[in-house]
Amino acid sequence: MLSELLQGIETGGLLIIQDSCSYSGRDLLRSFIAAALNREEEVHVLCFDVSEDELTDGLKPPATQRLHVHNAYPDPLGWTDHPAFAVQQFRLEDLTDLVKQASQPKPATLVIDSLSWVLRHAAPPAVCRTLQQLRKGGAVRAVVALLHADMHQRGTVGSVCHLASSLVAVAPGPKGNEAVAKITKRSKSGKVAQDEETFCITEDLTVAVLSRPSSLPEAKPNGSEEEQADPTANLTFNLRLSESELEAKQKLTLPFVFSKEKKTALLHPGPGSGRILYEPDANDDYDQEDPDDDLDV
C-alpha cells in the first residue's frame, strides 16, 4: 500500500507521516517529494525543521526545477527582520498566495516539514481548519505533512490525524536500515483500509517495500527482551497437555455440572423413591412466620 501511495495521492488528499524520536520520518517524506517530482508535479515545501540543503540533498537537478522551497528554517518566528516565511503566516490566504506566486497552471502538492513546528506555535483548531481549507480550496492538489507524534498531546495528534486521508506511522524495523510503516487509508466512500509493511529507503530516495509483516509476530515499539520472554518456559511442573491427556480431560464431567440425565432424575423422582409425610399434632408449636423459633440460639 505504501508504493501505491507513493505513486500518487488523490486530489484533495492529506497524507500525514507520523514519526517519533526513535525513527525519523523525514527520509520517507523526502521520498514522497522525489516521487512527486518524478511524476512531473509542482511541489511546494514549507521547510521549518531542517535547512533547505538537508532537505533537497539527494534530489536530482532536472527535477528540482519544479521544487519550490519556502525556507522558514533560518527564521520561523521573525526574530530577524525579514523572514522568508514565518509560522504566523500559516493561514489559507498566505499559503494560497505563496503557491500562486510560482504561477503554474497546474495545482501543486504542498509538503510541510514539519507540522509539529506549526502546532507548537498555533492553536490546534486553527491548524486543523487551515489544513481542511487547503484541501477544499483548490489551490493545492494534495498536502503531505510530517508530524512528530511524541511531541504533542494525544488529543492534538488525534484530531490532526482524523483529517488525514492517508496516515503513515513509521517505527524502526527489525534490522538497522529497515522501518515498519503502519498505513491507514480512508477512501472517499468512507472505507478504511489498514496495512503494515516493512520498507527501506535507498540513497536515491526510492522506497523498497520488503514484506508485509502480517505473519511476523507484532513487534512492540519499546518491547524489551524480558517482556517477550515466555513465563511458562522453564517451569518445574508441566502446564501443557498432550493430545491424549486433552482428550481424557474433555471426557470428564465435572461434579456440579448438570447433565440431562441428572436433571431428569432429580425433577421426576422414580416410583420406588420414598417420601416424607408429616402431620403436625397439637403439641407442635409451629410458627409459619418463624420456622426456627424452637432453636435455642
Binding site: Y23, D27, R30, P74, D75, W79, H148, D150, M151
Partner: protein, 274 residues
Amino acid sequence: MFTELNSILSSSPDSVTPGEFILVSDRQSDASFLIHHFLSFYLRSRCKVVFLGLVQSFRHYSAVSQRLGVSLTQAKEKGQLVFMEGLKESLSVLIPQADNTESQAMNFLRDPPVGLRSLYEFVRSGAVGSGRAEDGAEEWGPPVLLVDDVSVLLSLGVDAGAVLDFSHYCRAAVCSQMKGNMVMLVRCNGEEEEEEDGEEGAEALLKGLTHQCSLNLHVQGLPTGYCKDIHGQVEVCWKRRQGDGPHTQRNLFQYKVHDKGASFFPRGTSSAVL
C-alpha cells in the same frame, strides 16, 4: 578530551564535521563529563567556542579542563572562548547594581514568557566574531556552541517550547549558517514512561531536541544497579551520517570515568568482568 570517545565518534580535533548538533542527554545519571570532553575537544581543534555555563562557575570548568590539559583562562584571553557564567549573570539581573555593565543575555529572567531571544542574540554575537581576525588577534575556526545544561532554563521559568525555539535558532545560525557545531546537555530525572507534572517539560524538551539533533549521546545508569567498575552506559545514536545511507544507527557502550578521562568499552567487556 577522551581519545576513546573520539574513536567511537570517529572524530578528531584536526577535522571537525561541520554542521553537527550533538545532544548529550542523561536520565537519572550524570553526563557532565561529556561536556568537559567536548569543551576540551573543540578548544584543541581551534574552534571559536561559545560556552553557556548555567550550572557551574567558571572556576569549576577551568579546574576540570586543567586536568584534561586545556587552559580556559588562556583561551578566554586569546579570544577563543566566550564564556557566559550563568550563575553570576543571573545574579546581576536579579540584584542590579548601578555600576554594572550587565549583558542582555539573561534578561529573560525578568519575564520568562518573553522567550530566549536575548540569549540567542548573545550566542549569535559571540559566534559571529569567529573567522574575522582583528589586528594581531589569532584566527579561529568555525564557531561552536556548548550549553550546560538547557534543563536549567526550565527551572528558571522558561517553558519547553521556548527552549526548543532557542535551540532551533542556534542550530540555524551556528550549524547551518556558520557551519559550526553545537553541543547541548539536557537532563531528565523521571522514569521513561512516567508522566509526572514536574517532569513533563523536561520530557517534552528531550523529545523535541532529539528530533532536532544529528547525534545523540544518551547516558544512563546501569539497568542492573550501581557498580564500582562500570559507571553507566552511553547510547550513541546517529541520525544521519554522510555516505552511510539514510538511516539511524545505534550503539551501546559502557563507560568508567577516571580522574583524567574516561574509558568506553562494549557491553560486558569491562576489565573487572573479563
